[in-house]
């Protein structure tokens, strides 16, 4: 199922919460939605979940408008909000049963859906507990179960990892990966960028309601570093962006999950004392060398950027020259660095 946000704007009085943003994504992928506080993330997510109405623009699920057909869209979209379940005097299974009934699940179908979701979210031991007696992490699991009870194709999550301990976060990551493997499209906002980096295939970055950048992680890193995006991302994303004016997440096959794009390699070389300078000059002559620094007259720190094959050739020449290699690291720019580079920290 293709989810497409098209020219979406939301204005509250004089405040432009969301300013004409467009992006799209498809099923089987996990996309992060990042931006500073007050950037318009929750507003966008609420409109996508049919909880709010856009001032202009629309959200389409396989071409079906969320504004015109919210009832139809709700059958294929699951929404996990940033707030926790708050009903009183009700047990976990009763709570989930209520939502299953509300989605029109009846009889054996409902029982099966409830059992499946309780197993999937590991709520078996908690099913007879009252909601108020649950910890935050447990409530988050109940909230996820509620969002998934009708087996939606698109899952929209607002700050799902907020306030969770490391174990709960790890469990959430695992669940999300399983859901992505089940061909669900997952769109989640989070402030914990290291969490997103581990699981996301792409990201949408907004600030002050405006779209700053959107694409697969490789695309985004390429935009920041000015490098060339890898062929897979370039082929799928760029035509989409040109065709409909969106920023082009659509159709991008998943880049290998958990890896941000390489930014070259860092090499630390040990030279005989006083011979570091000639090595530095030699390295600087190479077109792939980005920077070379000297330390203590016998250590050279170099950064070499390029494709894997190109970098391999340079490293081969270093070894051939008989220099001692102290360390050799593949450089990666994290989502956090990317976020810091793209955004300016402004709020509305």
């Amino acid at each position: 199922m293709k989810t497409e946000v098209r020219n979406l704007s939301r204005i509250f009085g004089k405040t432009v919460a969301v300013d004409n943003i467009s992006f799209s994504f498809e099923d089987g992928n996990i996309f992060g939605f990042i931006g500073p506080n007050g950037a318009g993330k929750t507003t966008t997510i609420r409109i996508m979940a049919t909880l709010d109405l856009a001032t202009s623009g629309d959200v389409f699920y396989d071409g079906v408008s969320a504004t015109l057909y919210p009832e139809a869209v709700r059958r294929v979209v699951g929404y996990m909000p940033d707030s926790l379940p708050g009903y009183k005097d009700i047990q976990v299974w009763e709570y989930l049963d209520f939502f299953a009934r509300s989605f029109g699940l009846r009889g054996a179908e409902r029982t099966r859906a409830l059992n499946d979701i309780v197993d999937f979210t590991n709520l078996g031991e908690l099913r007879n507990k009252f909601l108020f007696a649950l910890s935050k992490g447990m409530k988050q699991r109940v909230s996820l179960a509620r969002a998934l009870i009708h087996n939606p194709k698109v899952l929209i999550m607002d700050e799902p990892a907020a306030g969770l301990d490391p174990r709960a976060r790890h469990e959430l990551r695992t669940l999300l990966k399983i859901l992505a493997e089940q061909k669900k499209a997952i769109f989640l906002s989070s402030h914990i960028l290291s969490e997103l980096q581990d699981i996301c295939d792409g990201a949408v970055i907004i600030e002050q309601g405006k779209l700053l950048s959107a694409g697969t992680l490789n695309d985004l890193l390429s935009q920041v570093t000015g490098g060339t995006p890898p062929p897979a991302a370039a082929e799928s994303a760029v035509p989409q962006a040109q065709a409909d004016g969106t920023s082009g997440l659509s159709g991008a096959p998943a880049a290998p999950r958990t890896q941000a794009a390489p930014q070259g390699v860092s090499i630390i070389l040990k030279t005989p004392r006083g011979e570091a300078e000639p090595v530095r000059l030699k390295l600087l002559e190479h077109p792939l060398t980005r920077s070379v620094d000297l330390f203590d007259d016998d250590e050279v720190h170099a950064v070499i950027a390029g494709s894997d094959a190109e970098v391999s050739r340079v490293v081969g020449t270093v070894f051939a020259a008989g220099l001692t290699v102290l360390s050799f690291n593949r450089n990666q720019m994290g989502l956090e660095e990317l976020f810091m580079k793209i955004t300016q920290g402004k709020v509305q």
Partner: protein
């Protein structure tokens, strides 16, 4: 097996909100404690009455005991069911839980109905808990079976209280909750003494009097009409902004004067006689017309400034259909025009009143109501005007200025020299002045003053309507089916 399957089918067809409400009610500790205390209190009362009292032949103690139990049940029902529904609904709204229920395929009407059904079943539970003790009261002498009909009077009051609770809770705002409690206390002050007076009269075995049944019928009809209004307003409050959420309320208010006529018909057929006060029917009818005319403009204030594309998608393409759709679905415009359409109805229904030419009382009441309605209309219209024209001042401040300046200015020449300005023109300039003056003067010279007051109010209302006319015409120009074709949802998405 068939019976089990049958019960299973019924259980599956229940409203999910009702099922949830029931689970919450019976798992609420306070609720369980209340129930327990009720049983204990009744048991103690029964023991006390049976051992300490000596019953006389006409059974007055039995009646007192019966009344005590009935009113305890009524008060508990209001406290537990109506207040409980209000509190829980308000919490669900502020906790955003209601939003998540709205993200399912549940309709807003199912949510409100589920709440109401839950509260009603709890009221029935409380009254069924009282049954053993009512039986005891019956056997302790003196309680006539006919007097049990008193409970019929209580039922609509309890339903209305519950609906009012659901309506107040649907806002999820603390200040509305406070208003609701003030209303509840006020209602208790009015209701309890009235109920006791009524009970005393009923105890005189007058229950089979046609007047009793007539009053009961009217009570049920009025409760029904007000209850539907509360239901529709609750629906409007919780409906998403993209929907035309005031549409059911607008249709209902427009139909209300006609519906009243239909509901009054059985009363006429069953009880009308030669000496019957026909003007009373006219006043009831007039009252509902006045209610519709006054409330419809206020509804405009709760509507979104611009319609969503969903509303336009339902707009017919032919002119007549489009005009009709515009009346009921055009945000503020229809809410301003609809009362103007209802306005002639009270005049057309004057023959229904069969007024006596020598009795001025009907004119006084009619005039009073006319003034009240037009005044409310003026306030609503001025609010709409300030909202539409987007003045730099907030709407409430603008309205206060409008009302205060409009009413103080005419007093100045009066204070200087009352003879310099004819009072007739004063009434036209100042709306509040004309209202107050007319009401005061009504009792002395009803026909003339009422007419003048009405004219004055109509002039102000007319001017306000004229000021709003450009905005209404612009809204009508824009009110049409959208040009772009939209892809309909697939079968999988609609679930059909």
């Amino acid at each position: 097996m068939i019976g089990k399957a049958f019960i299973g089918n019924i259980a599956e067809s229940l409203n999910p909100v009702f099922v949830k409400e029931m689970r919450q009610y019976f798992q609420n500790r306070r609720m369980v404690v209340f129930m327990g205390l009720l049983l204990v209190a009744q048991f103690i009362c029964t023991l006390f009455f049976s051992s300490a009292m000596t019953f006389d032949a006409d059974g007055e103690e039995g009646v007192a005991f019966f009344l005590l139990i009935i009113f305890a049940g009524a008060i508990l029902s209001v406290l537990i069911c109506a207040v409980g529904a209000e509190q829980r609904f308000a919490e669900e709204r502020s906790d955003k839980e209601l939003n998540y229920a709205m993200l399912t395929t549940l309709k807003p009407s199912s949510i409100i109905m589920g709440k109401l059904e839950g509260a009603m079943v709890m009221i029935l539970c409380i009254f069924s808990m009282l049954l053993p003790f009512l039986t005891a009261a019956y056997f302790m002498r003196g309680l006539s079976a006919a007097s049990l009909l008193l409970t019929l009077y209580l039922f609509p009051v309890l339903v209305l209280h519950t609906l009012a609770g659901v309506f107040a809770g649907s806002f999820g705002q603390k200040w509305i909750t406070i208003l609701y409690f003030i209303g509840l206390v006020n209602s208790a002050f009015g209701f309890v003494p009235l109920a006791f007076t009524l009970a005393e009269e009923l105890m005189d075995s007058a229950v089979l009097d046609p007047v009793f049944w007539g009053m009961l019928l009217i009570e049920y009809e009025v409760a029904f009409l007000i209850g539907v209004m509360l239901f529709l307003l609750s629906l409007a409050v919780i409906s998403p902004p993209m929907s035309n959420r005031m549409l059911p309320a607008k249709v209902y208010l427009f139909a209300l004067p006609f519906l009243t006529l239909v509901l009054m018909a059985p009363y006429y057929i069953l009880f009308a006689g030669p000496d019957y006060p026909h003007e009373m029917f006219y006043f009831i009818e007039f009252l509902f017309c006045a209610f519709s005319i006054a409330v419809l403009p206020f509804i405009a204030l709760f509507e979104t400034p611009t319609n969503s594309i969903r509303v336009y998608m339902k707009c017919p393409r032919n002119f007549f259909g489009r005009a009709l759709h515009f009346l009921f679905s055009s945000g503020f415009s229809g809410s301003v025009i609809l009362p103007v359409l209802i306005l002639p109805l009270p005049v057309l229904l004057i023959p229904l009143g069969r007024f006596s030419p020598t009795d001025p009382a009907p004119y006084v009441v009619c005039g009073f109501l006319c003034i009240l309605v037009t005044f409310l209309g003026e306030v609503a219209l001025s609010l709409i005007l300030s909202w539409r024209t987007r003045l730099p001042l907030p709407a409430w401040l603008w309205t206060i200025l409008f009302v205060v300046i409009g009413n103080i200015l005419p007093w100045i020449p009066v204070a200087i020299n009352e003879d310099t300005l004819p009072q007739h023109s004063l009434r036209i300039i100042s709306m509040l002045f004309s209202q107050t003056y007319c009401i005061l003067e009504c009792f002395d010279e009803p026909k003339e003053v009422c007419f003048q007051g009405l004219c004055a109010s109509l002039v102000v209302t007319g001017v306000l309507l004229l000021l709003l006319l450009p905005a209404i015409l612009k809204a009508f120009r824009l009110h049409r089916f959208p040009e772009n074709e939209v892809k309909p949802p697939t079968k999988e998405m609609t679930g059909k």
